[in-house]
Amino acid sequence: MAETKVRRIDLGPFFVPILSIIVALAVGGAMIAIQKINPLLAYKVLFTTAFGSVDGIATTLAKATPLILSGLAVAICLRAGLFNIGAQGQLIAGALASAWAGYSFVGLPRLIHIPLALLFGAFFGALVALIAGALKAFRGVHEVITTIMLNSIVISLAEYLASTPFKEPDQPLTRTPKIEDSARIPDLLGLPFGFFIAVAVSIFLWWLMRNTTTGFRIETIGRNKNAGWYAGISIKRVIILSMLVGGAIAGVAGAIETLSIVGRFEPAFNAGLGFDGITVALLGRANPLGVIPAAILIGGMRASGSTVQFEAGVAPEIVDLLLALILFFVTAPLLARLFKKRHDGVSLTSGWGN
């Protein structure tokens, strides 16, 4: 953040996302009303299911866990001026790798097996991201295109692996065997333990960006590549490092989903978690701590999508639409301008060539 001499309390970072959500809900409400359903009823169901009971909140936090991490995976790259749309592919790579580690190693104690499986997830998530990072750093290929292509490649590859070499024997579904009990992440205080991991990662990244040289390097390159280069920061190293970190975090998101919720790798699960990460990151203004409330909100909406269909008769895809609208309004500068005179968004476009 550029230091201004007169420090005023800047309400923009809070008001813009909240106002975006309200406007998005209003537009979404109009779409629901077109289908002759009372939007207030739909929203009441949506929010009471997500936040109205202890069970509801526990489910919401479980849904929020991978979203916090995939949001971080996008946010950390945004800070470096990279738009990592590949969180989805990295997450799937992590989910599959951790499932493999979860069912292949038999007889390990819990304290070794769980971290090992998480590490597998992080490693393969980072590996997928590294392809995009290296192509960006050494060949100047725009990361938006490569990460989108890698998403599709990883999805196909994972489907192949889960349907042929890693397939659970003797049954028709495309999925891997169940993970060993020793790899299963237990709940803590009725909440999924993964949630605490995700929050810890958020806090760590917040600290990293604020208090370390590495964080400063990432931030500098993200704000002004040329200035960073002039100051002797290796742009290539920053690009690769932030993609690796982002990929590893997305991989852990997939691993936690496998090890605590799904219990195996099944392609139909995990769908969309990485894409929601984009919305989470932008809603949280690419701030590692801001990502947490954004993920909880979106997790709550995801958690109650099917109840909304059941009780209000709205297609569960309403959540997709609302998220798209939120993303639109949170990034549309018209809203931002209402609260902030100086445009202070993350700028990413630099053509395809650098």
Binding site: M31, F83, I85, I131, L135, R139, G140, V141, H142, V144, I145, T146, I148, M149, L150, S152, I153, S156, L157, E159, Y160, S163, T164, F275, I278, T279, L282, A315, E317, I318, D320, L321, L322, L323, A324, L325, L327, F328, T331, A332, P333, L334, H343, G345, V346, S347, L348, T349, S350, G351, W352, G353
Partner: protein, 326 residues
């Protein structure tokens, strides 16, 4: 050097085609026919990119434009029981999305990558929310049997009997190529993409031209979407465009932001897919279907990795134009 490569590819293609034509004429021509069908939506989508980027606007929302247009084209066609009305709806949808992109990128001076991603996510959200099963269009756009050419050997079965959007698309691509390099509009567009302040000094309205080109490009994106749902298959599914809008960007870069270059690149892509399909049908090779699905994406990455750095995008691409204040 580039010219030599394209000569080599063309010669290799003719040699291979002659070889296979001698083996089985019907299959050889049908593979090339299929290749054109695979290539057309990619080529049209690449034209969207060419038109936008030549005037300095990065458009990664092509995928969303196509998805939304394919959706409206299909459902308007199905509900009104009129495929032509569907086609019009698809093109109009493209125009609206184009205007939205222009609004975000030109007027609001938003980051163009984010603007494109928003279009893609909005399109995915809208189409999956509004999608309904059990709808069908009365008929797909019917193929046209070309007079005279249709009876020629080899060329007839390859070029004849495509749908109307295909023929329009080919004519449009050639027209765009001529217009871009041989008309005042083309010169102005390229000037705005390379050096907007000079163009402005010369009296070209950067804002107007960018709006115009992005909107026309939107219409073409709409046509590409309508091609998929009305001409190619006659159905619509969630996530129907399957990354074609992104592959189109790679094709645009591979074709060096030149309409004919991009068309050639799209044909190469189409041919790669058509040949793989044929090999699968003949069971010459046994490849898991997932790897076939991966092929266009892998090709896209390889092409980008090989051509990036060697090709030069329009200089003012991605930068919102700020008029100097006096």
């Amino acid at each position: 050097m580039k010219i030599r490569i394209s000569y080599v590819i063309t010669l290799a293609f003719i040699a291979l085609f002659t070889y296979f034509y001698r083996q089985d004429g019907a299959i050889a021509t049908s593979v090339v026919y299929t290749a054109i069908q695979f290539a057309l939506p990619l080529a049209l989508a690449a034209m969207v990119g060419v038109m936008c980027e030549r005037t300095g606007i990065v458009n990664i929302g092509i995928e969303g434009t196509m998805l939304l247009s394919a959706f409206t084209a299909f459902f308007v066609g199905a509900i009104l029981k009129d495929t032509i009305k569907g086609l019009i709806a698809g093109v109009l949808t493209g125009v609206i999305v184009g205007l939205l992109l222009a609004l975000m990128a030109v007027s609001w001076k938003m980051d163009q990558i984010i603007a494109g991603v928003i279009i893609n996510i909005l399109a995915a959200g809208l189409t999956s929310f509004l999608y309904r099963q059990n709808y069908s269009i009365p008929s797909t756009l019917s193929p046209i049997d070309l007079p005279i050419i249709g009876t020629w050997p080899i060329i007839g079965p390859i070029l004849s009997f495509h749908g109307p959007i295909t023929y329009f698309g080919i004519v449009f691509i050639i027209g765009l190529w001529i217009a871009l390099y041989r008309t005042p509009w083309g010169l102005r567009s390229r000037a705005v993409g390379e050096h907007p302040s000079s163009a402005d000094t010369a009296g070209v309205s950067v804002t107007k031209l960018r709006y115009l080109n992005v909107t026309i490009a939107g219409a073409i994106g709409g046509l590409a979407g309508a091609y998929l749902s009305l001409e190619a298959v006659g159905i619509f599914e969630r996530g129907f465009t399957a990354g074609k809008g992104f592959t189109a960007l790679a094709i645009m870069i591979f074709g060096r932001w030149n309409p004919m270059g991009a068309f050639a690149a799209a044909l190469f892509f189409g041919l790669a897919q058509a040949v793989t399909n044929q090999l699968m049908i003949d069971e010459v090779v046994k490849i898991p279907p997932q790897f076939i699905n991966m092929l266009p994406y892998v090709l896209t990455i390889i092409i980008l990795a090989l051509s990036a750095g060697k090709v030069r995008p329009p200089a003012a691409e991605g930068i919102p134009y700020e008029k100097e204040k006096t």
